[in-house]
């Protein structure tokens, strides 16, 4: 899908900096470095909230976040799980009994 690039977005991408609601400077590069951590559940609750606040105020970061999120979900949903042979559990139990009976 081709998206229209408004003046605001172009300014965001080129300057990569703007003020957040809390008054701190927003830096797309810094923000995006944390996206993988957030999606992998590696941020604390406070860090995650801060990041989401920043992302929600920057359409460029929001789009990148959604793209990464869709990739993670995609892998989880599409990669086939190989079910194990139903006899394997009993084979394992038998081998263990054999060791113990030796």
């Amino acid at each position: 899908m081709q998206r229209k690039w408004g003046i605001r977005k172009i300014a965001e991408v080129f300057s990569m900096k703007k003020k957040t609601a809390s008054g701190r400077k927003h830096d797309c590069k810094n923000t995006l470095e944390k996206v993988q951590l957030a999606l992998d559940n590696e941020l604390t609750e406070i860090e995650e909230k801060q990041l989401l606040d920043e992302i929600n105020n920057c359409s460029y970061c929001l789009e990148k976040y959604e793209i990464e999120q869709s990739f993670k979900k995609y892998l989880c949903n599409k990669v086939k799980r190989h079910p194990c042979n139903p006899q394997l559990a009993d084979q394992i139990r038998n081998s263990i009994n054999n060791i113990m009976d030796r």
């Binding site: 899908m1 990739f71 995609y74 892998l75």
Partner: protein
């Protein structure tokens, strides 16, 4: 193994309660590592036998899943990797240099919500994953399929957390490249 009747019962109970519930996840991991059923079966059996042998070094109630995955990963490296290594497969370290040179390919923007990616079936996505070098395959399965934390993965694979992060990043980019190639075969055109 000489155990009293009670010890034996306790160990068996622990084994059933804390180890056996992870059988399916371990088999799935083993299959993605060895890429064939017979070796996956052997590898999982081996893992459970080792787990049983070292059951006294396992602390009851701690992270059994991560402990078992670590045993499986080590068994694979020590006994199976050479055997199952495919012709032409390159080592992770060799691969990094190549990957670093390729980092600017823009795959980061690949959007899986695109219809063409939705159209790829599970078999194709699984195939793309299985074509990745084993270290990248491993980290994607541990993180995105099994949901392990960075700390757990660092312990399972025996690498620093920083390496977990960078390897994951590279694995994802590489996986995106593979998916993009599959989608291109189906007529996907990039908007750049």
């Amino acid at each position: 193994m000489e155990l009293t009747g009670t010890e034996r019962q306790l160990n068996e109970r622990l084994f059933e309660k804390e180890f056996m519930p992870h059988l399916d996840a371990l088999y799935n991991f083993a299959y993605h590592l060895t890429l064939n059923e017979e070796d996956a079966n052997d590898l999982v059996q081996d893992t459970f036998l080792k787990a049983f042998r070292f059951i006294n070094s396992y602390e009851r109630g701690t992270n059994a899943k991560a402990w078992l995955f670590k045993i499986l990963k080590n068994s694979f490296i020590n006994e199976y990797r050479r055997k199952t290594r495919q012709p032409g497969e390159v080592d992770f370290e060799e691969y990094v240099a190549f990957q670093d040179a390729e980092e600017g390919t823009g795959v980061g923007d690949l959007d899986m919500r695109d219809e063409i990616f939705k159209g790829l079936i599970g078999d194709e996505v699984t195939q793309a994953l299985n074509e990745l070098p084993v270290d990248f395959r491993t980290i994607l399965i541990l993180c995105d399929i099994e949901g392990f934390s960075y700390e757990e993965m660092a312990k399972i694979i025996d690498i620093p957390i920083g390496t977990v992060r960078s390897r994951l990043h590279r694995a994802r980019n590489l996986m995106k490249e593979k998916l993009r190639d599959y989608a291109k075969k189906m007529g996907y055109k990039e908007n750049r």
